[in-house]
């Protein structure tokens, strides 16, 4: 092996290792009582050699992870039909499956996935569709298949073709820890380390179009808010104020960013115009005001404040300038995130000394505690409003976990090593 290829091999190994660090796996811990049985038959590969990606395998695990479906094990399938005429409904009825998904994959420059869903009982086609895109994006195309199938069968758009940001930490007992900001598919696959630092990295958040992210990094030995373009990699430091520079939250129109600064002496919410960098101070209170979250209409902000003595969620109306208290149950409610419907709010609540994820319905004002572990935090709601991703402790380690908004489905996403925290579920990616 010459020197050059040694360097390349070493570099490839390094990349593989850094990917392995942040890789998440999925363990489903609880599904719905009567999940819909579905057979996702391996899609026929119509190109040369072997298929670059097991599309049906990705779809299978997506549907399984949702907790709404119980996919048929491939090893139980009597055949792998890829066109309607090859489906023997009797065989599939014997496996007690209600639906069968078949498809074909080809590449002619672009990857093309043609697929059809059939109702086994009625022996009819439910729908057929085509996904096309770059072969590099094969997994994302597979997630789009999952999205369509999920929407057809549940009536709710799927959120599989989305991505996650999260922070992972590798402990270093003899010195400073390693902090990494990672971008991955919604199933934890294809992790990319966007930032690696010996100083804390915090509060990742998405622009509404999914093309940019913001986060807080201590890399200059003080906290500062940064934004980064995921298409070009271009990175910009937005703040460098004395004191706190935290909790960046993009406005729904993408033009401004709410954040927390304590340059005035105590933590207050500010809004930065991203074009002019001009700041507008929103809250003026000697208490802690932090964790801003935009309502989807962009007309008001939820935030955490201990102005009443203990942290509770308040709502600031940007038009009237009025502030109302939103949470009243329990003595610690913090870090709200709002679903796209503007109705469901997920937050961290303290009950009997433990911290859980709860969901508050702004219309009925009913709060439901969704989790039962003790140190749950950083809830992030899927763009379709179905699942909440959050951080918790499992054993001695920080891991990500998810729960459906009705509390019925639960799964964990442990990493191979290190602590994982602060998940941020992307909006629907603009295609």
């Amino acid at each position: 092996m010459n020197r050059f290829s040694q360097v390349i091999a070493g570099f490839a190994l390094l990349l593989a290792m850094s990917a392995a660090h942040a890789q998440l796996t999925i363990e489903i811990t609880q599904g719905v009582d009567n999940p819909t049985p579905i057979a996702v038959v391996p899609f026929a590969w119509q190109g040369a050699g072997t298929a670059p990606e097991d599309i049906a395998g990705v779809v299978n695990s997506d549907l399984s992870r949702s907790g709404q479906f119980s996919p048929v094990d491939r090893r139980d399938m009597l055949g792998f039909p890829s066109v309607q005429k090859d489906i023997f409904y009797r065989d599939w009825r014997a496996l007690n499956t209600e639906y069968i998904l078949i498809g074909r994959v080809s590449i002619a420059g672009q990857m093309r996935i043609e697929y059809e869903l059939y109702d086994v009982t009625r022996q009819t086609q439910v729908f057929s569709a085509v996904e096309e895109g770059s072969p590099n994006e094969a997994r994302m195309l597979a997630h789009r298949v999952s999205d369509r199938v999920y929407e057809q069968l549940t009536g709710i758009p799927g959120a599989f073709a989305t991505r996650l940001l999260y922070v992972s930490v590798t402990r270093n007992p003899t010195g400073k820890d390693y902090y990494r900001l990672t971008l991955a598919d919604s199933d934890g696959a294809r992790p990319i380390v966007l930032l690696e630092s010996r100083e804390p990295v915090m509060s990742p958040s998405w622009s509404p179009d999914g093309n940019q992210i913001a986060y807080v990094s201590f890399e200059t030995s003080r906290p500062a808010v940064y934004r980064q373009d995921l298409r070009t990699g271009a990175r910009e430091q937005l703040t460098n104020f004395r004191g706190l520079n935290s909790s960046p939250a993009w406005s729904p129109d993408g033009n401004s960013m709410a954040m927390v600064l304590s340059k005035g002496g105590n933590p207050d919410i500010y809004i930065m115009n991203l074009a002019t960098k001009r700041l507008t101070q929103i809250t003026r209170h000697y208490a802690i005001d932090t964790e801003p979250a935009w309502m989807p209409d962009g007309q008001s902000l939820l935030f955490t404040s201990d102005r009443g003595g203990r942290p509770q969620i308040y709502r600031y109306n940007l038009r009237t300038g009025n502030t109302d208290r939103v949470t009243f149950e329990g003595n610690y409610n913090a870090r709200a995130r709002v679903a796209q419907d503007g109705r469901n709010v997920v937050l961290v609540t303290q009950r009997s000394g433990q911290f859980h994820i709860a969901i508050l319905d702004l219309v009925t004002e009913r709060t439901q505690v969704l989790t039962s572990t003790a140190l749950d935090e950083s809830p992030s709601i899927a763009p379709n409003g179905s699942m909440v991703l959050y951080a918790t402790k499992y054993g001695d380690r920080g891991i990500l976990a998810a729960v459906s908004v009705d509390g019925g489905v639960k799964f964990r996403l442990p990493a191979r090593d290190g602590d994982v925290r602060e998940p941020a579920w992307s909006p629907y990616m603009r295609r």
């Binding site: 201590f218 004191g243 706190l244 802690i288 964790e291 942290p311 913090a334 935090e377 950083s378």
Partner: protein, 174 residues
């Protein structure tokens, strides 16, 4: 009265003249003595200065030792930024040490893992600020103090439970 005054002046003049004559007769001896006395005085002054410097250094060292003895980490109760009496006593040692120097300090505020991360960032800042405020009212100029909050991001003890948490709710003076 006037006559007596004139006589007095004459007497004074005579005395002075006699003294000057006496001095001039032992001129060299006296110069040596004066130089010796001067040298002795200088030596004594230098010695005193050395002693004072040594004492100051020793005093500074004692202050350093006192500050080292109390440590540079000050602990807090859960969800509180109030300085405990123990933390105040420990800080007094650091304040005494800082008053003899122009050194700047950095106060890093930390919390335990309970509660949300950004709320804890604010709580860590509150803790660092209460240490800063105590130092300022006791004579350390505020421009010499930088505060940074790390919230719950940099625990000393990784585990859960009060034995670990109590170690993490702290301000570190650096």
């Amino acid at each position: 009265m006037k006559q007596f005054a004139v006589a007095g002046k004459v007497m004074t003049l005579l005395f002075t003249a006699a003294f000057l004559v006496a001095c001039s007769s032992s001129d060299t001896k006296d110069q040596e003595a004066a130089a010796a006395a001067e040298a002795a005085a200088a030596a004594a002054a230098a010695e005193a200065q050395r002693a004072a410097a040594a004492e100051q250094a020793e005093g500074q060292m004692r202050l350093q030792e006192a500050a080292a003895a109390v440590g540079n980490v000050f602990y807090f109760e859960f969800d509180s930024s109030t300085l405990t009496a123990e933390a105040q006593r420990a800080l007094d040692a650091h304040i005494a040490l800082l008053q003899g120097t122009e050194k700047t300090v950095r106060l890093e505020g930390h919390t335990d893992e309970r509660g949300t991360r950004d709320y804890n960032m604010a709580l860590g800042e509150r803790r660092a600020n209460s240490v800063r405020d105590y130092m300022v009212v006791n004579g350390v100029a505020s421009y010499r103090i930088e505060t940074v909050s790390y919230g719950e991001e940099q625990p000393v003890a990784y585990g859960s439970g009060e034995t670990n948490w109590v170690q993490n709710r702290r301000v570190e003076l650096k």
